[in-house]
Symmetry: D2
Subunit: 412 residues, 4 copies
């Protein structure tokens, strides 16, 4: 421990001086990096899987309370995982008050609530052919009612955001009528929007494919934005990093949405081929950095209510370790973006000095910001190296002891 600290102090001391030499304000950076609030989705605390199988890791949370406990562990280690996003019905609390109190006791806030209209638990299989866009009015009403119930639960828990991912779509040409479908979705969304409390916002997510393979009803940011505009000013677009066609420039989409005031939040993850739902930043760390360069460009970024969540599927790694790595990579990307010499960049852009623009960008990216991230965590009471701490404390082993080696996270 002492060795770690000495090494850290040396590294931080060196970095701090470098930052000062560059004219940056290390204390401000520490605050911004330390105060980032990354919501943990309740469904990511257990092992995920593909259609080819699922391999558990043991000690997975069996109840919502246990999920809250896991988030509390993450928050204790990292100090920036202070909220949880719930998926209804997977995490529908039987006693809402108890959950609210328990979360408060753990110091965990309830972030967004997420409706689920892509599975139904009964024999009816109502959502097999869609939900808010279904050709049958009764199914649409069922889906709208479900969303309203989710809002009610969210209100009781102190949430202020409804997140909507619509799995509706078609897998075959001709299966549905594109234009009729847009009419039906628009109407369903408006019904939900009109019932939202005044202090709530509604986030509309987009995705080009999966679980449907010809077309998804809301395939891209443009459609999400069109539909949000049909609802009202508190309907915004939610960007999931894995929900794009090959080669999409996501940083540009983020900038465009910010330009229109349309960005409602993020689902962070990483991917190479499809919606791979891997650890944030594990494959395209430079792209993540470029996205953060857009996010931190605004003067207002830190004060705004953003919905930043990790939405990954932990198929092979321990879910908690995976989340720790995601948080770490997000903080590193954020820290690097804060290093960016924006004045110098703006000047180079004005002169179309492209080579210099790139050097400025790389100068921030190539700086090793891990010491600042560690320092930020230490100052807010977290761990310099949360992954090591997680292992040193034998947390997974303890969870397996408590919950069993075959426990399975509810709702998966």
């Amino acid at each position: 421990m002492k060795t770690v600290n000495t090494a850290h102090q040396k590294a931080w001391g060196y970095l701090e001086q470098c930052l000062i030499d560059k004219g940056l304000e290390p204390d401000l950076m520490l605050r911004m990096v330390g105060q980032i609030d990354i919501a943990i989705p309740s469904w990511a605390l257990g092992t995920g899987g593909t259609r080819f199988g699922r391999f558990g890791c043991g000690g997975e949370p069996r109840t919502l309370a246990e999920k809250l406990n896991d988030v509390a562990v993450l928050n204790r280690l990292t100090r920036c995982a202070g909220s949880i996003s719930l998926h209804i019905p997977w995490d529908k609390p039987s006693h809402v008050d108890d959950i609210r109190d328990y979360a408060q006791h753990l110091g965990i806030r309830i972030g967004s609530v997420n409706s689920n209209t892509f599975q139904d638990l009964g024999e009816a299989q109502s959502y097999k052919f869609g939900s808010l866009s279904h050709v049958n009015r009764m199914v649409r009403e069922q889906a709208v009612a479900h969303n309203m119930e989710v809002v009610e639960i969210g209100k009781a828990l102190g949430a202020e955001t409804l997140s909507l991912w619509l799995a509706d779509g078609s897998s075959y040409p001709g299966q549905d009528d594109f234009m009729g479908r847009l009419d039906r979705i628009k109407n369903s969304l408006r019904e939900i929007y009109d019932c939202l409390p005044d202090n709530w916002q509604m986030l509309i997510e987009y995705k080009p494919f999966e679980p449907h393979f010809y077309s998804m009803c809301i395939p891209d940011w443009g459609t999400a934005w069109l539909l949000a505009r049909e609802c009202g000013p508190r309907a915004l677009v939610l960007v999931d990093l894995g929900h794009h066609l090959p080669n999409t420039n996501i940083a540009q989409i983020v900038a465009t949405l910010l330009w229109k005031g349309a960005l409602g939040g993020f689902h962070f993850n990483d991917s190479k081929y499809a919606d791979d739902d891997l650890t944030v930043g594990c494959l395209r760390p430079y792209d993540l950095y470029l996205i953060f360069c857009e996010l931190t460009k605004e003067n207002t970024w830190s004060t705004q209510k953003r919905n930043w969540m990790i939405d990954a599927s932990h198929n092979l790694k321990d879910p908690l370790e995976d989340l720790i790595q995601s948080i770490e990579n997000i903080q590193i990307a954020l820290a690097k973006s804060l290093c960016l010499d924006r004045k110098k960049l703006a000047l180079a852009q004005e002169h179309n000095d492209i080579a210099l623009c790139e050097q400025v960008l790389l100068d921030a990216y190539l700086t090793d910001m891990r010491p600042l991230v560690a320092e930020a965590r230490l100052r807010s009471g977290g761990m310099a190296n949360p992954l090591s701490s997680f292992r040193d404390e034998r947390i997974r082993e303890k969870l397996i002891g408590e919950r069993g080696s075959q426990s399975k996270a509810s709702g998966l």
Copy 2:
């Protein structure tokens, strides 16, 4: 000739009866297929090329008048190529009135006029780093002024549409500021829009990459639509089939734009990898059919002023032969879409009878509609088989005799 006609008459007789048996109206279909108006771009009458080289075919038009002659040939053979789209400055007429009169004499209308702010002919290389989005106000003004000049020329020629493809973009992260760039484009576009005559429309094209390789200013339909909305109701979106990321569902984009009344026109071509600019329908004929199923869904489709143009690059085939094949494939796709039993399809959709939906779609697609296309052409005075006629008449050989084997289309 007689044999052809006999064979055609037999085939058409058989098909006509099949269509009647299906409850369709062959005469109406003939009119719709025969009256489609496909604009020919002036720049597609010569051989195109890639950055790796260009191989001429001989007999290419050297002047705008010769280009008009070529379109007249196409129109004589197919009876649906009665208009030309001009690219300024490539086709800037020295005597506008002469060109207008000559076109009229040939029975050719002037379709859209297209501005070009991606090349500049002088030493200044003003557009190297952008045009309407350039950081330098003077370059933006130059580009706006160019567009206004294009409109003036178009007015004199009887055009009513300004088509705008903006090659602006960046090839490196950091080269430009996404948000500032959107501001600048918006303002430039508004300036142009505000100067448009009342009966004109402005079409905004999008493209994800090339000639810039990190980001294009208007990469997708969503951005094109945002910007059109900033201008006014006569600003619409132009879809070029080759301007999409891999796997994009273009038929869905078309439907979404139609749903919003935002579709301004088409640039038809085909592609497998990028903006390959191949013969329309040569690689993905089923996708082309699906797009036409959307286009002909509207009752109003045939009466509306659409801007349908072929925008292909003829690198290997004879440009005129290539255009004939493109026209043929468009007409076939259109004819198939008119075969679609929309009532049966709607009923199957209402019952989520997906297999039946597909059968209905395939029943139209698999029908061999070539006899109807040929009949439609014959009835309007064209050729049953325009490609054969082109060869039988030895048109290319004559053009080479006239214009030389090394002639090169102007403006390429």
Copy 3:
């Protein structure tokens, strides 16, 4: 019924004459189309699903015997579904002799046998981190032994092909060592190959991603071919149409494998984005036709033992209806490819007359070959329209009555 036949006879009579006029031999074509042998995979007879859910259709086969019954139904209707491919352990027969006899009784052959080393049913989860490529020798031996067991079962059932799809791979950079992994796979495959009976072949499948998202051990045909060469001449490459990166030219891969004598078989399906496992030919019918143009190019194609199987996942449609549509689309593509005037095409290719090459290709593709496919089926005792017959006979309703509305195909 009589109406159908009259309509069919008229259509077939017309088509037959057209084919004769083109110098083709309708009788030969009928035999080739009628005799195609398309294996049905045992796992495709029930409803599939995605990681987001699974919606059953009712009446799904609960046992291997019931799966054989379903294949027999398909074969009765289409006369070209006379074999089944088994997945072990999903379809491991408790009494091999009974299954062999029952299949014989139904007139169904056992096609390939397929090993499964991506799921394990016990608590050990041995294959979580790989099978034939696992870093742990014991797991590799377990996977090799499983394959040998599969061969033994196959021998008892009369199969002669082992199909190997290796789900091994890594989801994160650094998770595994590429070169060491290739060594391990090579050795495991050799062990299996060396135990194959002399009249057997081993097919090696490739896939670029899923269920792993950074790299699959055998991502492309090149790697499959390298590994097959390390084994021996009866190790060949298996092409699954859905297992390619965006924009891959699959027809070219097929041609290259045929050129090297390396093509072992096919898994037919269709897809737009990833391994979507949709109905064969439902999205890219022209590509399917181009693939068949390669397959039927060889003089030997019909006499060779090919392993042609449908490998689709039936998430929304009735699995049997989906399979009927897949068979139909395969037969149509085959029939069109037989229409191709290869002499004319070869001549056009010799002269680089590209426009003519395309016309020849399109002339076959655009011909409506459904009457020939129907006639081929009728002549071999099947149904002109198998989908209609399936519905008219109320087969699904009967299966639900027999097996229940909640029955679930084993092994999924």
Copy 4:
């Protein structure tokens, strides 16, 4: 200058200690990074372009001697650009001996020689429809003869590698016969191979598309490898980073080729969408690092004759600045890969400890290695910051003074 050095010495002192603390050998690393030999292609010293235009930068080399001068400048600044690759006929020397002597005088070696059979300068346009694969035997012989001439020139200049990029392909289905084409290429390649001097190697490059848009004759590494095997042991595969379909795992291809001893060389660049030919490492620096992790895995890597070349197109940046940035990014990726704790990684891999594998990988990647790269350059007589030096010395301005502002690199 003194400030730079002081800052550099401080940074290097800190990094050196960190490396030692990690158990690494800084001196060895310095040598490996300093001795990397990156060939400069003669065609990359001028401004490139797209089919939409080309914007010169002024001062471009007009002759081969001037190109050698430019490489000498790069080598003086970076000390790792000591060789040039020539493109024939673009750089066909009129007096071979003079060029050889002048290169020697400048301390520049001739790396590979590259044949060009995609352009022909005369009226014949022989290569319009292919070269080594052309249907016409005379064109094939012309292309073979050209390659032999290139080898002769290379021999006179001291080169030992023939690099072959075959632009042959087809843009339309049916345009060519895949199998016949492979036969023709195989025979042509063998003819060339059989004439190679014993100490030469032949590198075969692959590319999926462009300049042809349906299929390229050698689209992937598998085909390149098949063809190399048909030639002999000194025929190897050349990897160009931009020549892959979307989402391809290039690091895995590199590892597979190394595993088979089949990797002959690299064309470095970066890209997002297609063969964008951007500055090396400017978009996917992490992928570049992962590739270097494979390359430096071999103990033999530094002693082998590798053909590492930058193959980028400098459309917007100053070509020399662009090349300096590419060299810098290559050296940084190399230095990071040398930081990798391979023992720790191997151990983590053995235990399938994926999270740890990643941490080990990231620990090297996130280390800021710029001071080591700078130190390596300083020790070999180069500049700490070559881009700054290039600007400080006003090299481009001087070149423009010398060669004019409109000079255009020959052969483009």
